[in-house]
Symmetry: C2
Subunit: 373 residues, 2 copies
């Protein structure tokens, strides 16, 4: 398969060529000027911005213009609850929390149970079981109750469906066919779905009866939904939401982007024990190291394709100096693959120790997060 | 246009050939044996059955088998609230009321505001204004409060959308394309809609947690929705609903089946004054009479195409003997077109006098009819 040739919200095949995506999707790269502008609001940019993990945007400058005029935005992101959360899912949410804290804004968090029912061929009961589990992970990250509103497509349908009806009116089959690669065999649910994903970006505007800017932090594979919907928002009298788009987190098994059904067995789940984390990373984390110790010492490893290094870069090593040293030592051959994995294992287990305590505490807080009219 | 060639829920063109429809749609004709069976439950069959206005069905014998075993059914019908109710709309509802009274069953009455928004290109506010007006007409016909439940697609979305999601999963674009004649230019709302129309047939089963038979009285143009959905009900563990299907009521201007945008000007509305009724029928009711008095006296009129006669037959002259005499006198030339129209005008005005009083009273009762969980 050609590089970056197939990225939709439901399928990512081949090694993703982000430069090509930026061009194809028509998004803007986040440049140093925009980073400098964002830095005015925070003592330190998060690793997701410092290291180009979130690398593209639409209308982010407009959003900050409005913010500076006193027209505060809100955040919207979401989760398709079809299985357990693994550590790769956390990057976007941790970045979203940074945005919430930095700009002191509300977050609307959508759980797309209808989408997963239509696209994953699982019973709704199973999807709702995972949804509950996934909510614990989101809450455990420390989002502010009272400022964070969970909405569930089927359970909040009285709020969402009437708005989705208006979006669905302005999008035809030709459009979703070309944006998502649908054929006539796709279900009328799958065809309709994108109108539900458009909705949370206008819920606060609907509730307050006035236009409120929206920022959507998300992985770039979700861009087609908003490429379609952003044409519709102004037709319905709303602002186009601004987007900030991040890399797809590679699975443990490598950067080829495939998300196989066995992923839950090979991915590090947020509920894994320290032993499981150690075993999975040692067994499955794709290595950029050389085949033999001698070769590695002589030629060095390749951190660009090494999943352990990438996870440290994207998520688990906040300290730039430490990360630089790890990269340098790995490239030079001083640091071995097993040693690099050991660093990641320690970091992940330290993170999960706290996360799992917070996850348990979250069980009594779920009700505070689910939106009530 | 060929006879009966184009009948979908949104378009009826040409003179409808009901025999062809029966064959194409694969419904069964209501025969004398079935009529005799229905007659066991009522001292007198209503004109809609005696005169073959409701002429086709699916699984009606199964429904009565279940009823006789003590497995009571419920009724489901509906209204797309895109404009005022005219007298032609009342036939199905009056027949539905007869079914409710005769079998002492609940009725779920759906108002498809989403459908009309998608297919009629009118603002939702206008549709909701008409919905309120249409509800008054339904209530005025005497449906039992407490046994009659109004559901509105957008306002009851929390009940309906999660069920629609399951239907939408089992229907693909190819299917709706061929059932409704959709093209790629149709909106994803229009494509999704049929799954919302499938829902009310299972709401009581969902609420009670057990399968309850359903009977849908409706005009035959709605059949494509259920032709599609009836394949899905058993896949989701529900009974297929039984259907009883009636003629499309011809507009005042003639039996060619066209429902033009000017219909509200030419049709007799339930809110019209006696003078307006008189004027509209005299001016617009298509006549089967001859061009001159002499010809008419000599050759007689044709009641089969005469709209005044058809309205008497279908809706306003309950007495078979009186109707027979009117038909005979019209065919012989004894009864003139103007005289026939005068009979209809008197009947319609007598009906509307009562209806309009009931319609006023209904304003305070709407809340009793709207379903509450």
């Amino acid at each position: 398969m050609e590089k970056g040739n197939n990225v939709t919200p439901w399928e990512v095949s081949g090694e993703v060529d982000y430069n090509k995506l930026v061009k194809e999707f028509g998004v803007e790269k986040i440049d140093s000027k925009l980073l400098a502008r964002i830095k005015k609001y925070s003592s330190q940019l998060p690793p997701q911005l410092r290291r180009n993990v979130f690398f593209a945007h639409r209308d982010f400058n407009w959003l900050l213009d409005e913010y500076e005029k006193g027209n505060k935005f809100f955040l919207y992101t979401g989760r398709g609850p079809s299985g357990p959360v693994h550590i790769g899912h956390l990057g976007t949410w941790i970045f979203t929390k940074w945005l919430q804290d930095t700009f002191d804004v509300d977050l609307w968090f959508q759980f797309t149970d209808d989408e997963k029912f239509w696209f994953k061929n699982k019973p709704m009961e199973e999807i709702h079981k995972w949804m509950y589990e996934n909510m614990l992970d989101v809450i455990a990250l420390g989002f502010k109750p009272g400022k964070t509103h969970f909405i569930i497509d089927t359970k909040h349908a009285e709020l969402m469906y009437p708005i989705a009806v208006k979006f669905a009116d302005k999008i035809n089959f030709s459009t979703v066919k070309s944006a998502f690669g649908f054929t006539n065999d796709y279900s009328i649910g799958q065809i309709f779905y994108t109108s539900m994903q458009a909705v949370p970006a206008v819920i606060p505007s609907e509730l307050k009866g006035k236009n409120i800017p929206c920022l959507i932090p998300m992985a770039i594979d979700q861009d087609p939904h908003f490429r379609v919907a952003r044409d519709v928002y102004p037709k319905l009298g709303y602002y186009k939401p601004a987007l900030i788009e991040g890399l797809l987190l590679p699975p443990l098994t490598g950067t080829d982007g495939k998300m196989g059904s066995s992923e839950s067995d090979t991915a590090v789940l947020t509920t894994d024990t320290p032993e499981m984390v150690k075993k999975k990373i040692n067994k499955y984390a794709f290595s950029g190291g050389r085949d033999t110790l001698e070769e590695h010492r002589k030629l060095g490893g390749n951190p660009d394709v090494d999943i352990s290094f990438q996870y440290l870069r994207i998520l688990f090593e906040d300290d730039d100096k430490k990360l630089d040293k790890i990269e340098k030592d790995y490239r030079s051959g001083k640091l071995l693959s097993g040693e690099l994995k050991a660093i990641l294992i320690e970091k992940v287990n330290a993170f999960l120790k706290v996360h799992q305590v917070n996850r348990e505490k979250a069980k009594k807080d779920i009700d505070k997060f689910i939106y009530k009219r």
